[in-house]
Symmetry: D2
């Protein structure tokens, strides 16, 4: 556990929605004649975890087949000849999140490499906290890197392992990496699924007839009609082969500390994460929020879509009516040209619009899942007032975000995190809200875990709010102590 210096975090995130960005979703199938097709469906169910790119690798018993694309699964893996193009009974797939920057095809997963003993295809959700240090070591011994992806480090470690069996070399590689990850790999025709030592990223196992399925979330099991079996345990690798299903530990047993933001925002509401319904957790956050920060208002208005379950919960607990006071457009596209004349800021309206009929003359309570920089929150408060709300109050269904993430979540740097730089009154003034409230950390724990935070051994990865990181931050600490390590950055089209 370590306390990061957040000033050095330089991660990017999507400023237009002011939401943190998940890094990816993974899916894998063992022993289904239509493994590639099932994987496409499973990835579609995980598309909310990443829309930048997607890829599927299969093994047909003798060869690998890989296709990787920029864009959505439904745009790239629906061709009628897909079963022929991606044959085989084992498959892994990956959905990757969307950044602002130039998308880079060579970073799209699954990554693949020929190694001694065959080939490895690998897909990975999360972030390694010692990837750069490992990379530096590997490079100093002659390894060459084609991508900037963390996952390539795992390929190199497996390739350089002295173990005989290829699966054992992958397991040995997993022992060397730190951080948060859900990981699926094809090692020739064997399938390995592994989860980081603290279980920060989710990963579940299911069955579909004779097939074994792994997925980041249960909603992907549901999509293909598979039955949930169990969560992969922290530090566990499951190897599936002709010899059956074998569980291996590559790290000591430890209770899972699932990332709190899976419950707050990332996961799909119909998923079950760590045995708890995401939807129910969110509703419960709303109920808890109603108890902790009541508001004397006429209507509860969710910021769609992620604020809806908490708003339903708040409405139930408070008895104040729930109304769709903000309508979200389902049509996306590039940013529109701003009109040239001196007019009100129209940018937020591209995605959200006020439903004036339900807010005019009303005291409105806006409920959102979280507040990162507060920029969008401010625009929405103003939009409510322009639509005629007499008062506009704001509640965040999670605690104040004060610390950046190092496990695969893109969020604003600390300098931009509103709660890291202002107290409650300052924030309310900044957001132009008549009142502002956040769920407490204990309220979050009550809502998600049904009990208070165990400070000695917290049940969640909650560093966003507490600054307590579950793992050492090797790369991050190294950056502070020495500047000698610098990649030749490659701009590639």
């Amino acid at each position: 556990m370590s306390q990061a210096n957040p000033q050095t975090a330089t991660l990017t995130y999507d400023p237009e929605t002011d939401r943190p960005q998940e890094e990816c979703g993974v899916f894998a199938v063992y022993n289904a004649v239509d493994a590639g097709v099932l994987t496409a469906l499973g990835l579609h169910a995980l598309q909310h975890r990443g829309q930048e790119a997607c890829g599927i690798a299969t093994h047909d018993g003798s060869r690998f087949h890989i296709e990787r694309y920029l864009g959505l699964v439904g745009e790239n893996f629906t061709s009628p000849d897909m079963p022929q193009r991606l044959p085989g009974k084992v498959a892994i797939g990956h959905a990757r999140y969307s950044t602002q920057g130039a998308s880079v095809l060579r970073n799209v997963q699954p990554l693949y490499s020929d190694v001694r003993g065959g080939g490895i295809a690998l897909a990975h959700n999360g972030n390694l906290t010692n990837a750069r240090v490992l990379r530096e070591e590997l490079v100093s011994h002659g390894a060459i890197f084609q991508s900037t992806s963390d996952s390539e480090v795992v390929l190199h470690l497996a390739a350089q392992s002295k173990k005989t069996k290829l699966t054992n070399r992958v397991l040995q590689a997993l022992k060397q990496v730190q951080g948060a990850f859900a990981f699926v790999a094809l090692v020739n025709d064997r399938l390995i699924a592994a989860r980081d030592p603290y279980g920060i990223r989710p990963l579940v196992m299911g069955t579909l007839g004779d097939a074994v399925i792994f997925a980041s979330e249960t909603c992907a099991l549901d999509m293909v009609g598979a039955s949930f079996v169990r969560d992969i345990e922290p530090g566990e690798a499951v190897v599936v082969s002709e010899d059956g299903i074998r569980s291996e530990r590559f790290a000591p047993a430890h209770p899972a500390r699932i990332c709190a933001f899976e419950y707050i925002y990332f996961a799909r509401p119909d998923s079950i994460i760590g045995g708890r319904s995401v939807y129910e957790a969110r509703k419960q956050m709303g109920r808890q929020l109603a108890m902790e920060t009541p508001a004397d208002v006429d209507v509860i208005v969710p910021v769609p879509d992620s604020g809806v379950p908490a708003a339903i919960g708040y409405s139930e607990a408070s008895g104040i009516p729930f109304e769709l006071g903000i309508i979200r457009s389902h049509f996306v596209g590039r940013t529109f040209i701003q009109p040239t004349q001196d007019r009100r800021d129209l940018s937020v309206r591209r995605k959200h619009s006020a439903n004036a009929a339900v807010v005019r003359g009303k005291r409105v309570l806006l409920i959102d899942d979280s507040i990162v920089r507060g920029t969008t929150s401010l625009k929405i408060v103003r939009m409510m007032r322009e639509a005629g709300a007499s008062e506009v109050h704001f509640r965040s269904a999670c605690p104040p975000i004060k610390f950046p993430d190092f496990y695969g979540i893109d969020m604003a740097g600390r300098a931009e995190l509103i709660a890291a730089n202002m107290d409650l009154d300052e924030m309310a003034a900044k957001l132009e809200a008549d009142s502002l409230g956040f769920l407490s950390v204990d309220g979050l724990y009550q809502a998600v875990c049904g009990e208070a935070r165990n400070d000695a051994n917290p049940q969640l990865a909650d560093h966003y709010f507490t600054g307590e990181y579950p793992t050492r931050l090797v790369d991050h600490d190294r950056d502070l102590s020495a500047k000698e390590f610098q990649l030749s950055l490659l701009v590639d089209a």
Copy 2:
């Protein structure tokens, strides 16, 4: 008013969502330096009315500029050079709905033609009921048609008018057409906006500083920050020019009979149609439905997204909790390959998935805005049972749909309309629902108009439910009586 023989209706609609399809949205700006940019924003707000294609025409004082594309506004009208490409202070725009068939660029609006006295660009939402008869007459006198669009008939009629002034020729053309339409046209640098004699399609006027705006719905006025002024009246044409704003009547005054489906499904919930909030009308349909067809259930589950307001209303009136028991995916794409093995039907899951946590072991009441063929409804009922619901009841927030539309709405033919072919019990059995209920026609009127149906002079276009069409169906009747008229159908890429 006439009773159609629905067996001959051969319109197409989207079978995957089992929803009727709106034909279009229109937007227009007079006297704004960034007329083209504002029109793009306005069309984006109307994108729910049509996603197949979009187009914008401007006039820069001496010339027309037109761009038309297949696809969304946000994909096609966001280039930084758009103000240069579409210069001028007047503009009209059009968003067109999505069909299954090959999209045909030559049908994309605005249509344009050189005529005596200048040029006319025209965009149109709706359907003319005498277009084919008029077209036949025009062709027999030597007119040639380049598109299969109704709107081209209006261009020809204006071109052949003997009136001197070009705007008067357009008005004369409007007197000759029948049906339902909201219509905007650039006649050189003049702007005309017109609405059909019965006001079946909506059309509103607003202002933004010195600019005059017209739009299919008020949500587009909100998008650009314009203020609502009034509805265009049935049979009214508004001509805006350097001489100011002039109202002309091309048909006798008649109270508006707005298409009931604008309230039920088409319009955006934040729009005000005919002075009534669409969102409130939908919630009221839900409340009315709760009174007319109560259900002894544990949870109210909307079919997202269009069933949500009615479900909120039903929940309020009944006191039964509202829950998101179905999660809708926001990621679209082509139809996925079906897995080859013998498995449950996965097609509906691409768009909807069950939130098992809130339906397992529960008596569930599904609320949808309407039921057309019932195919999707059946899949959703089954999905609820697979997710563990102990009972599944179904309610439609509109009356049984028994008759096709001829005013621009694509819906199934009568043979496919479930309510046209089965009684309530048969439908419930077909949908495998434990109970089924529909809003009554009078309940619909109470919800939308706050009063019962005026049978002598109905307040809405409600032919879907009653078979009473507000206008003669000239083309349709002609088809029945004589087969001599047949276009050489043109398949064009």
Copy 3:
């Protein structure tokens, strides 16, 4: 016959090659089960006449099928499902030339229109000299135009004809138009091929088994394995139907005055135009040029590819060796970025490069088919000197071009035509050539026709050199006398 005022000609042409641009090629098939496929092959053979766009229309006995694309035939009409997409035993096709400006799909041919009695699809090579006057008349009577193509005038005239039979209406339309054209049309399942009254544009008939074929050039007959039958005569329309082949005259008999530039540059060398081999005509121009303007040089170097046959002829007649002193790149693309440093003009090298091994230290005679503005000629002269040529002489295998064309050829305006503005010495100085020579007009006639020019009744359309236009220039004269006619120009994407 009339003398134009060339200052008002505002046609565009390709400045990068300094070559006039042909307007199109046409192809048609009657009575072949694979009419669409044959048409694609035929258009490919005519691709040199136009690379901007291409289209094919077929009639399957009851319906028309049309596909039109921007780009090459080989990129757009090679899909395996083409026979299904373009079924029917009759077909017409069109290849359109490449302009710099935005390509406009609505101008791509074949044009189509529903008319009384069925449909007409039409493709056309050439230019009508009274199209704008006719268009103005049509518009004043209520016609509306969707394209800016001359060909749409023909559709309107046919549509407005009072004749009963549709083919007769097309023939009546042909009587009203003036100018130069080769014209193929499907009138329902009948095929019409027609050539302008002076035979300025070429059009030939052939047979392939039971099928009748029409094409702009014989090379397209060769491509599909058809046998040449005869030229269509000036003012003749050939109608092919179930009743057989019928010849109709729509203009009085007149000997053909084929456009001289077909022989000089446009037509493919393996075509036979007006009974004369294009290749032999070009070689003969070179021989004649050798006699008229001998040069004391070491090597003959053609400007590739169009100067090659004349250079072979010049070499044969003079005994001076023919050498490939300029190499042409077959790889095209957009214009490259010019290097920023102060260097020699590299633009010409993208298409041509000097073969220094054969020009270094040599007295070089460059032979080109023609000189329009002279800009490229100058660059090539300089390129030869940079490659080490001791002297560079230049010969044009056609006479000096002094007058623009109005029959479908894009060329520089008169102000840009070098020979219209300079005498021989000035031109030689401008081109930096040690000597310059042009073929004489009589030499051209000797080469092409084997006899001198018949001044009373010239055998060719030679207005480029003589200013004598074979037809009245109605639109052109009208432009000079009155400015009241002005289209609202439409910029369309």
Copy 4:
């Protein structure tokens, strides 16, 4: 030197043209402010060496910038913002040849890797004959490969070198590879250009002001206006840096044995290879051919375009007229649908057509640069007869091709090489030619080198004709002796 067993060669080549396929062209610039722009121009001049893909890497003093595309240089490197996207004063570029199979972006060069000490970008023309053996060794020590390109082996060898300086590590890598290559690399901001120990592939150096240029052929120097300095010597590496130009030997001095096919077919005729004009060499082959295999014919007809210089030479030596009896289409595209009716083979006509006017009734001698399988030759002979030739004779301006290449040239396997399987009479019968002749090996040497073959130390790489390979064929021999080595082939999109 070794004798290969050609039955195991499984290289692909373009069957439609029946020509061997070059593997690539390279270009590099040191010390020009517009290095990227110059490289694009240089690659355009080398486009004949590869049309599948192209890429450019620059180094701006601190970082690398790389763009790689499928398609032509003129389609991908002409954007106005290219100087900004590819900044820096050093650049390397690569043009890659076109295969039938799926194009694979990850194989497109320049390849790049971070290594200890910085980065290496590398582009390479040719083929390593021990790449698979080296790769196997590298993989067995833990290296992972991302591409199937030979060039990646060089990156790994450099990365694993124990030398301190990065340039020295690249030089050490070059010592380990065998085969044929022209090689340019950016090692941070240093530029290395190297040529294989036998000089099989060409590589030249030039200057342009203060800039140093390297290119596969001199025509690329001409394109950018650079002056030729000298050939890179076999086994020489030239390192250009701030310290100046340094020549290093990584292999013992050996006279160049340039690939004979560079003279016969690959190189552009305006290039100077090994001090000899390619155009003059080809003409001389034609003259030699005329002496060795005279023909009693009326016309000499080249198979365009590669047969033209030899045909000019043959015509000069024999006094028989040279005529363009075959016209080549410059318009390419996908293979057309074959007409369904029983007709003559039309496939060859898509690219070539007979110019009947010059062959009808004539005894024709066809001259081509080479004959690989003979399939196209047969079609052309038949096309001449169909066009009316009374006799058709055929001559190949190079000796019979009996052995495959292993140095980067795709050609048919030995089983398909007509000259490897038939004697002269059989070939003439197969080609349906009235007579057939090939240039002798000594004739080739006389034409290219001006002297007979030095059997002890041949002046060219002539294994195609003699089976004598200049280098050991390590991978190839290994394949024969042992099958234990097999890559997991990866199909990637």
